[in-house]
């Protein structure tokens, strides 16, 4: 089920979401005990169905008196079965837990149906600051400011009011600067399980021609 090679940039994002939760350790569970397997599958389906928030493996494991690896294995199998059957919904691992959600291919149908104020656009400044925090967390206000070259107080306030970033600790050095990191809401907004599922930062290092242009313009030797 890991065969989904991203064909191009456009499809990549959807793939990340669909596959969230696939990148996890799974177990070969004892398929011979069909009755037990069916009980766990149905239990997971029922529990996730009645939950308004993503349900962590550990919670499902405790409720069904089994272990997390078994839970993950069954969840992935369930998720695949919905996909195989072309269901209009998915079981996905997002923001630290399993949830039912609409299938991305049904976006047209539901976007006419659901209109709400969700996901007000973030300014480019806020988005860039969020990217820096996501990749460099834990990070202090001063470090973010150094990368952006501007004061980031206002942007940080917006981001923490939206619940996308939060104080996650204090620097041990002198000054004990507050350190920021991203939250579960951030992961949910991006449709990922946790920050490790972000595309590698190396992917965004500027292409050669940009680099050359910068280097060329700022070269220090005689023209």
């Amino acid at each position: 089920m890991q065969e989904t090679q991203p064909e191009n940039g456009a499809n990549l994002d959807t793939r990340v979401q669909v596959d969230a939760g696939r990148d996890i350790e799974t177990a070969i569970i004892d398929l011979s005990d069909e009755k037990q397997l069916a009980h766990l599958s149905r239990g997971i389906e029922a529990l996730v169905m009645i939950s308004a928030e993503p349900v962590p493996d550990a919670v499902l494991a405790q409720a069904l008196a089994t272990d997390e690896v078994t839970i993950r294995t069954i969840c992935v199998a369930l998720s695949d079965s919905y996909e195989d059957q072309d269901r209009g919904f998915q079981l996905a691992y997002v923001a630290g837990g399993w949830r039912f959600q609409s299938h991305p291919e049904m976006a047209d149908v539901i976007s006419d149906y659901v209109i709400d104020g969700q996901n007000a656009k973030l300014s480019p400044a806020a988005m860039e600051t969020l990217a820096i925090i996501a990749y460099k967390q834990p990070i202090s206000r001063a470090q973010i400011g150094a990368i952006r070259g501007v004061n980031v107080d206002g942007v940080l306030r917006t981001l923490s009011q939206r619940g996308y970033v939060a104080e996650i600790g204090r620097d041990e050095g002198p000054g004990q600067a507050v350190l920021f990191g991203t939250t579960a809401s951030f992961c949910e907004r991006l449709g990922i399980a946790d920050p490790s599922q972000l595309p590698p930062l190396g992917d965004f290092v500027p292409p050669a021609h940009v680099l050359e242009a910068l280097e060329q313009t700022l070269r220090a030797d005689v023209e």
Partner: protein, 285 residues
């Protein structure tokens, strides 16, 4: 410079000046305005896609940059300082280029200039990297927005079983939660925005690359930077190292497509390796 007005700051709206009056050369115009901070401005000036990248002259950039700096108003002291630091590096570079080779600055000054330039370049690249990463995150958020989670929650007949969620809550808790919802988090200001430490050294990176690049073989840039991939500064410094080797004719650089992998090939001889090392040593002193 009326930039020293530290009080009234809209931190997010730094220098949104209309730039059409920018005293720029014929090919450079900071017409997009609304840029944010010095890196934004400089990136915009250099990478403005309306001009042929290779025809942008440093002089034009310096002029356009200074024109924007002069227009900075109501900008806080730290931001202004950052702009000025970069302006001074740009001016140094320009001066250096105007001097005939044999009238070069003294060695210490020269080295300091190289270092400043490398640092500026690193920071520009870092800034650009996060800019592009931000766009990718935005695309992810957009496509995640096409999906809706189930929110229905518990069926009514189970609700009677559920313990009261407000058990042990007091009116004061509600008050506290309200104040928490309203109040922005208290902020401690460290105030070192313009200080950044570039720990990575280009020289070190070149040494490292000379060791890892096989004779006649090729490696992708990704492979060369795999071990430092989560530190942008380190990746950027390796970029500079590759460029330095490229300038000296020791490596070939090849890239397939816009975001394709960059391939680096050692095309020099064994002797060249020594020469490269020596050359670099001289370059750094």
């Amino acid at each position: 410079m009326n930039t020293a007005a530290p009080a009234s700051v809209e931190p997010d709206a730094t220098p949104a000046t209309a730039a059409e009056r920018a005293a720029s050369g014929p090919s450079v115009k900071a017409e997009a305005a609304g840029f944010e901070g010095p890196f934004d401005l400089l990136l915009h000036l250099i990478l403005n896609d309306k001009v042929d990248l290779y025809e942008v002259s440093l002089s034009d950039i310096v002029d356009a940059y200074l024109a924007e700096v002069v227009k900075l108003k109501n900008c806080d002291l730290e931001v202004a300082t950052e702009f000025l630091l970069i302006a001074s590096t740009l001016i140094d570079l320009k001066v250096r280029r105007l001097l005939p080779e044999d009238e070069a600055l003294d060695l210490d000054e020269e080295l300091a200039l190289w270092e400043e330039r490398d640092m500026l370049l690193s920071r520009l690249l870092e800034s650009k990297t996060f800019k592009d990463a931000a766009q990718a995150l935005e695309r992810m958020a957009d496509s995640a927005a096409l999906i809706r989670p189930r929110i229905a929650g518990l069926e009514d007949h189970f609700l009677a079983l559920a313990p009261d969620l407000l058990e042990n809550s007091t009116p004061e808790d509600v008050h506290k939660a309200f104040m928490k919802a309203m109040r922005p988090k208290p902020v401690t200001n460290v105030g070192l925005h313009h200080v950044t430490a570039v720990k990575a050294s280009v020289t070190k990176a070149i040494h490292e690359m000379l060791l890892s690049l096989p004779n006649g073989g090729r490696l992708t840039f990704r492979q060369l930077t795999d071990h430092v991939a989560d530190d942008v500064m380190e990746v950027v410094v390796r970029f500079l190292a590759v460029l330095e080797l490229f300038k000296q004719g020791f490596v070939d650089i090849d890239q397939v497509g816009h975001f394709g992998d960059l391939t680096v090939e050692w095309v020099g001889s064994e002797q060249d390796r020594d020469a490269a090392l020596t050359g670099i040593d001289t370059y750094e002193g």
